[in-house]
């Protein structure tokens, strides 16, 4: 369960101070599927960073389960990211020099999983996103939809509590977008994940049980 209390995030840009999140108080229950919408520059990615333990708020508190993310050190945050949080990005963010299988394995490396188990689990994860025949392909040899599937396999192979996605379908055509969304929803339903998706796409947002709207750092329920 996420609990955000009076979370404010300001950036010191070159000319002025930018308030990306403005006194946000919010609770997200385990197993919820939440869509976050809003205009560009509204603070969607910034909120996802707070939830994903990528950054600490300027003020206020963020807790995930028993961990107070806003107070922990870098090393501890890395550990929580490694164990409990899966990420999917708009640009897929695969390591270009590694094969599909090796990309998935990178998520298991910080957990100390042995080589052979890593390989088995990576292959299982790739099979579960429908890429059994693409283990040894480099990202450049895969289509956008296939790359995002590899990224989803990488996010889920560690069996996280939370899956965070920042515009996961933003770079894909409509048909592929629906395939990816179905895949994500399927995992959410099967694994009891907390799934939080940032999207511009209302068709995507409508699939979620709960929708949040962020504008100028202020969050409201839709």
């Amino acid at each position: 369960m996420y609990q955000l209390t009076n979370v404010t995030k300001t950036y010191n840009a070159t000319k002025r101070k930018v308030t990306a999140l403005d006194d946000v108080t919010l609770t997200i229950q385990d197993g919820e599927m939440v869509a976050i919408q809003g205009p560009t520059g509204g603070g969607k990615s910034t909120l996802l960073q707070m939830l994903g333990a990528l950054d600490r708020p300027t003020s206020g508190d963020v807790t995930l389960g028993a961990s107070m993310l806003s107070k922990l050190g870098d090393h501890k945050l890395a550990e929580i990211r490694a164990k409990e949080i899966g990420f999917v990005f708009q640009g897929f963010n695969l390591i270009p020099t590694l094969t599909a299988e090796e990309n998935v394995e990178t998520a298991l490396a910080p957990l100390g999983v042995s080589g052979s188990e890593r390989r088995t689990r990576a292959r299982d994860a790739l099979a579960s996103v429908g890429l059994s025949d693409r283990f040894t392909h480099l990202p450049a040899e895969l289509s956008g939809g296939q790359q995002q599937r590899v990224a989803i396999a990488r996010a889920l192979v560690k069996r996280p509590e939370v899956l965070l996605a920042d515009e996961p379908t933003g770079s894909l055509d409509e048909e592929t977008r629906d395939e990816i969304m179905e895949l994500l929803e399927g995992f959410w339903r099967e694994q009891g994940l907390t799934l939080i998706i940032v999207t511009h796409d209302t068709a995507v947002a409508r699939r979620a049980g709960r929708r949040l709207h962020i504008k100028a750092g202020k969050v409201r329920e839709v």
Partner: protein, 517 residues
């Protein structure tokens, strides 16, 4: 994961790997070559020194020569005097020959009791005294003239100007005369001791060395080069100061091409008697009990013998002159600076390329951080890549270096060095070449004296001393050089990795969410 990721990065970002590795390879190859060349020059210097001073010699002691004063009366001492009764006359020609054994002009003899003083100093493992001498033989033929000349020809000594008393002047005055000046160096040494001193570095070419039983006998050992040039051999004889010595053996330098310390070696006591230097020596060779204590021992010996010149091997190495010393200077200055410069450039290239590589991979490292990679893991990955690039460079560099060494050894340049300097241990590396110079000497006049002053003698001495020892440069390939290369490769890799890693550690994990593309 580490290995897989590292391999994929190096293989799939080949351009960066190649640039960094080639830079390191060139630098390391150069370092290896310079190192090896420098070791080769040092070996060559050592071989010149060893041929002269002996292997185990750490310190040599001598007395600086007091420079002869101009027109010194010493000239009389060095002159050859022929009386009218001297020489054998046959068929109208008078044959004259006189031989003299004197201490080397650049040397000052001192009391042999100083050897005992040296031996008593703690830290001296062994010490031996030698007497450095020079045998000069003046011989000639003079045709007999009519009245007066042969009968009343006065005895002249000293460095006199060309004779004014010659009854027949002009160019014809010496017509039919032939004079010859022959000189060679003689070293008197303790026949029983060969652990330290000039004969400790020689190889027996023929016959035997001197032994304790030779003390007091007229037995001599010859430098093999000299024996050849003077057409002498073991079993034959050589006249020294009018005394006939039996040649019992010949020796050559262990270092190729080098001449040994002197032309002729004879027992010390015989040398002292023949040269009227009873109880005197000119040099002491010292072996230190510990090679690390040589400098300390030098100080102690200087204190014990205030008037003596005490030189260590290092001091002596500085006196090796000729192209050898030019090569040595070249290597130590140009070579070292060039290596440092190229090495610094290679390190800089590696650092800059690594940093720019990390910057290009901002999103990649941000993503890895976002999915839970710790800073340490990422820094380790970056450093690992750099070290392997460095090592690849090191391996190529070793190959380049070996190729360079092979080329040097194929060319095998010859360097000449002379280990003999004024004030140093004289008579060293001396060759018979000087003897030939004697042939050009113009005699003062018939029946007259032939004077050779000490100062003038310096001219001959110098000519003899500059006869150089030639050494072929061999650049050695040693395991230390490989270790240095590998160490430098790792150092370069670590340095680049440290900078790249520092850059990567500062990246925020939130970078993963930025800049799509």
């Amino acid at each position: 994961m580490f290995g897989t990721y590292l391999r994929r990065e190096l293989l799939n970002r080949r351009k960066q790997t190649i640039i960094i590795s080639i830079g390191m390879a060139l630098a390391i190859g150069l370092v290896i070559l310079v190192n090896s060349f420098s070791a080769g020059v040092q070996n060559a210097q050592a071989s010149v020194l060893q041929s002269v001073y002996g292997v185990g010699t750490d310190i040599t002691i001598s007395q600086a020569a007091t420079p002869p004063t101009a027109g010194a009366t010493g000239g009389g001492q060095q002159g050859f005097a022929f009386g009218s009764g001297d020489g054998a006359s046959t068929g109208g020609t008078t044959n004259l020959s006189q031989s003299r054994l004197t201490s080397t002009p650049t040397q000052t003899v001192f009391d042999a009791t100083q050897l005992a003083t040296v031996q008593a100093v703690s830290g001296v493992a062994a010490a031996t005294g030698t007497l450095s001498l020079e045998n000069v033989t003046f011989s000639g033929q003079i045709p007999q003239r009519g009245t007066g000349a042969s009968g009343t020809g006065g005895t002249r000594t000293g460095g006199a100007a060309p004779s004014t008393a010659a009854p027949t002047g002009g160019a014809d005055g010496a017509g039919g005369s032939a004079f010859n000046l022959n000189r060679f160096s003689v070293l008197g040494l303790d026949p029983s001791g060969d652990s330290v001193g000039p004969l400790s570095a020689v190889t027996l070419a023929d016959g035997r060395l001197l032994s304790a039983a030779d003390a007091g006998t007229d037995n001599a050992v010859l430098d093999a080069n000299y024996a050849t040039s003077a057409s002498l051999a073991t079993g034959g004889t050589i006249a020294i100061a009018g005394t006939t010595f039996t040649i019992v053996g010949t020796v050559s330098s262990s270092g190729s091409d080098s001449a040994t310390a002197a032309n002729v070696y004879i027992p010390l006591d015989v040398a002292q008697t023949l040269s009227t230097n009873t109880g005197k020596i000119s040099n002491i060779y010292v072996q230190a009990s510990s090679s690390s204590a040589v400098d300390q021992l030098q100080t102690t010996l200087k204190a014990a013998l205030p008037t003596a010149t005490v030189d260590t091997q290092a001091d002596l190495a500085a006196t090796v002159s000729g192209s050898l010393s030019t090569a040595s200077t070249l290597v130590s200055n140009l070579g070292t600076w060039l290596s440092i410069l190229v090495l610094a450039a290679a390190f800089l290239i590696a650092i800059l390329f690594t940093i720019s590589g990390v910057t290009r991979r901002t999103r990649e490292f941000g993503t890895l951080k976002a999915i839970g990679w710790s800073n340490r893991r990422i820094v380790g990955q970056v450093a690992g890549e750099s070290v392997v690039q460095g090592l690849i460079g090191g391996v190529i560099g070793i190959a380049v270096g070996i190729a360079g060494i092979v080329v040097v050894n194929i060319i095998s340049p010859t360097l000449s060095g002379s280990a003999s300097t004024a004030g140093g241990v004289g008579g060293a590396a001396r060759r018979a070449a000087g003897a030939a110079a004697g042939g050009g000497t113009t005699p003062g006049g018939e029946g007259g004296g032939f004077g050779q002053r000490a100062a003038g003698g310096g001219g001959f001495g110098a000519a003899a001393q500059q006869a150089a020892t030639t050494v072929t440069l061999h650049a050695p390939f040693t395991i230390e050089i490989v270790l240095i290369a590998v160490g430098l490769a790792i150092l370069g890799g670590l340095l680049a990795g440290a900078f790249g890693g520092w850059r990567a550690a500062r990246l925020r994990p939130a970078e993963a969410l930025r800049s799509v593309g």
